[in-house]
Subunit: 676 residues, 2 copies
Amino acid sequence: MNTIQTVQTSKSYKCWLQYDAVVNQQRKEEYSVIAKVISKQLDSPAADAAAAELKMAFESMLGIHAEVKHEKPEAGVLLSIAESADYLTDEGFEIKKEGSRLLITGKTDKGLLYGAFHLLRGMQTGEPLAKIEGIQNPANPLRMINQWDNIDGSIERGYAGASIFYENNEFTKDLGRIQDYARLLASVGINGVSINNVNVHKIETDMITSVLLPDVAKIADIFRQYGIRLFLSVNFASPIELGDLKTADPLEESVRQWWKNKAEEVYTYIPDFGGFVVKADSEHRPGPFTYGRNHADGSNMLAEALAPFGGLVIWRCFVYNCMQDWRDRKTDRARAAYDHFEPLDGQFLDNVILQIKNGPMDFQVREPVTPLFGAMPKTNQVIEFQVTQEYTGQQRHLCYLVPQWKEVLNFDTYAKGKGSAVKQVVDGSMYEYKHSGIAAVSNIGNDENWTGHTLAQANFYGYGRLTWNPELSSEDIAKEWISQTFGPDESMQQVISHMLHDSWPIYESYTAPLGVGWMVNPEHHYGPNVDGYEYSVWGTYHFADCNGIGVDRTIESGTGYTSQYFKENERYYNSIDTCPDNLLLFFHHVPYTHVLKSGETVIQHIYNTHFEGADEAANLVETWCSLKDRIDPQRFDAVLKRLEEQAEHSKQWRDRINTYFYRKSGIEDKQKRTIY
Amino acid sequence: MNTIQTVQTSKSYKCWLQYDAVVNQQRKEEYSVIAKVISKQLDSPAADAAAAELKMAFESMLGIHAEVKHEKPEAGVLLSIAESADYLTDEGFEIKKEGSRLLITGKTDKGLLYGAFHLLRGMQTGEPLAKIEGIQNPANPLRMINQWDNIDGSIERGYAGASIFYENNEFTKDLGRIQDYARLLASVGINGVSINNVNVHKIETDMITSVLLPDVAKIADIFRQYGIRLFLSVNFASPIELGDLKTADPLEESVRQWWKNKAEEVYTYIPDFGGFVVKADSEHRPGPFTYGRNHADGSNMLAEALAPFGGLVIWRCFVYNCMQDWRDRKTDRARAAYDHFEPLDGQFLDNVILQIKNGPMDFQVREPVTPLFGAMPKTNQVIEFQVTQEYTGQQRHLCYLVPQWKEVLNFDTYAKGKGSAVKQVVDGSMYEYKHSGIAAVSNIGNDENWTGHTLAQANFYGYGRLTWNPELSSEDIAKEWISQTFGPDESMQQVISHMLHDSWPIYESYTAPLGVGWMVNPEHHYGPNVDGYEYSVWGTYHFADCNGIGVDRTIESGTGYTSQYFKENERYYNSIDTCPDNLLLFFHHVPYTHVLKSGETVIQHIYNTHFEGADEAANLVETWCSLKDRIDPQRFDAVLKRLEEQAEHSKQWRDRINTYFYRKSGIEDKQKRTIY
């Protein structure tokens, strides 16, 4: 029987698993009837974890010390397996009330776990049991988190402290925190985690050898209890790096055999190992290009090695020329993923999945949806989001990303005519992929509150919930999260929900007007720098001059990127008449005096949104202050501090961007506000 | 008797102390007469070193194994002390031929050393002994090199490998290389060296404690042989950092006593210790401001502690607001040193010297001379140059800096009317300072050739020679250096001399038009980035907009910086009519269409100089190639590689700067060359 030991017990730490005492007397009575016994009919890691979670929660919420037993109770929660329930997928569950019993039924023990967390979510949000009843199956088969953690304890693009997995080039001894992380992940439906950075450095290359596999296996044991399969990022050049071979050529028999042996070895340590995540031929990482091979050759070699054990190859499509000459205006980084991968459709093995970033560039505040979705009917795809706020304020600015992800998932690719949303691609329904789903880069670290900004917990929560059910509205997700995290005060909930929903538009308004992107400081990507990436090797340009700004990606006069979309979208973006304002500068180069659909000129839009955005950031502080006595001091103060920093920093953004464009265009602000 | 063991013997390593065999038969015979015996009448470290250097050189140049003895020879070199020679300063020397004897006379043993190196320089450049004869006294009392080496082996602003002093947080074991460094320094007249970075980090703070003083003393022993006093950079907060006191307040008695004890301790290890170099209240370093005290309070406290032992405090004036808001256009960093220090004139103790950078900003390619020179009649001053090429191409671009330093030293301050050159301030003659001279940041590291770019050895050489005698012409210095370094081929010498003398103008032309400065990448300062420092905290702006560029530092409409100069220079710079083109944008904000004294507009000047500069950088490659068979392959190839890199990189400079200004101004190049 699994015993949960949470390592810290502050409200910051507990996130949405607060399990506060139920104050509504009617609910308390209703819940108490089923809380005295937890019956589970099988012993398995996940069933044990489900029972343990329920037991702990009942104690905390209701003051009831539930008995856990195998026998069917008169009253209580009954966890049972129904292998033949054809209305359930492997991870689905049914919750059903039968008299004084609440039945949680799963086809496997994973379903029981998700059912238990679903029950607890309902109880925490104060639902009557009748509303908690029902059948749920996850929409996406793969619901994954990528940790970009390095074994030295640092996290690439991490903004919430150091790694919870590693410190000082070793695995952590603090397994309790990893268990708590697994609980949080499982509670929102995540079923896969890769635990090391996709940029696999020297020491991490050893994670697939006997040097580190015993440590990896311990982590896998924890995640297994919570229905989560462990994946590893691997170095494509491992056969060389580990000193065994002189080549990593994927068509070389010795290399293929090396990986087969390697897979076998890994599975002796971790029998349900998920597979490999691979960043190859991308930003100086090794890959098949070195040997004149393509991505199908590279990924299929790994897939062949993993197939006998049920493992997957998750192959990232973030492949582009990162040594571009800024003087070369013909090469367009936005085209790269499609140009590299679309021609290979049909060449990938069944257990290869291409992992594709939501946009063609790199997790900008605003960019269009990548045209690869829907364009490869014969190739498994997962979408990659970024929960960690690399370009979206680094958890020092508030930026609730669920609305962005919803927009992407609902984007109509027109792959099979109208109504061909991205979510239908990635849930596997559009083309009946063998494997598919959603992945994202994690935003957690060892800060006490996990996410640096306490309100960034909402992104972690919301991401998970969306992977389970993309139909959930952004508002419902926010409400669920706030209610569990901060309690039942409805007016407080509304205030926070508004803050969350205003936050992405606010951040966009003072950082990334009209889809322009990349106006950030190089390398760390925090703070304004309009030309920060303008003359760089990264293929990231806005071409602002004294007359206008934007990247011409049209077919007639530009890079032709628009032609990668299905016809409807190609026409939509290619024409300046239909292209939406918020992506105008992504697709078109226009004069500052160009009049937007909003009726404003481009330059006046830039000024307006920056002044307004900074004002709105300041308002967030005030709004939050209205909650002073309704949030515990620790979390209230922590959030306040971040919001104050945001308000100040948003003025930097406002002034730098406005000054840049004023100096460049020479056009005065119509409202004569201060520009430097 | 000192025995010299050079650790490497390549031509790259030997720099200008090649001691090649003399090929001119007439010279060889003349030299040989005096080379058979080296007589020295006293035993002292410096006299021993002089004799040893001569012995080694004679062997190498003439194949003669000289006998070293105390007795006066019939024929030979006679090193002797003449304490009462009133035509010599303590470090001066006389060389005089008497029959078959060559007399080198010094007032102290240091004079003998400089005399010996002077003789060898003359022999290496093929002078007849009659031309080597004469009396020489150094113009500047203090002739100093600052190493910005860190104990981890890195060098702040080092471009020639790692430190020769430290590795892995310890002092090096390779004392042979340090001895060779001392030989090179002494051969050009350097008499002081500070061996650690002015930014004194944690471990280095211990250099003034028993933890590291034994190691420091070993280094001091080596330098002592070559007439060089060792200095240490100290952390103003040492009393706190070392755990002894809770304050570093310079007016606090306990702090004053602490430093007195500390000085006493240091002198027990190093009896001729030079003193402390201090960067205080500068770029986040601790200093007297913390306690509401001024720089006189801070430096006098240290001076009082060092005075009993003859030690100096070298107090840097690089003090400015490094947390400036770019939106604040009133604060002018150029004013800072004068504003901070000039009012304190007369308040500093006799053994305090203010070390003042040549310009008011920070070693830019082009900036005016700082107005502090001549403005503090009662305060010892040394000028600080930068031999290491931080902003001048980082020893990957060729940039011979002697002409720049000559310009600065010859700059007329008008402090005492016309003819009040900076060199008269720093040599102590203008105001009869107790201590004064020249300091510079070193450009050497553990690269085999010491300076990364072989031709950058010329800056090291030329810097030393100028400190000894600022009247030497840049051309003569170059000729001396080339001849000793590469041999007697006169047409080769002329080619290299032209390359050297073209190099600063070339570098300026493609990097820093019209005195604008700071258009470099932040932090590492390499490569073009026009707005790299434009919105930063460093007080470094050019205010380019679509109409014009430059910083208004005039009295009427600008920051009033020009008023810090004596009247003649104030008028000269303050008026746009007299301000020279090459500093125009430093002092004035002008439209791109402003017509320069050259007859070109500002914008066309920018385009022209950038196209021409890149062309000239390419020509340097060709010119160098013309020397292919006249330079040894190791050095030829090494220089060629650097020049090729420069040619390529100069195109980046050309294109980025031209593109920036074309995009910003919208004004076409009259010659229609390619701008992106």
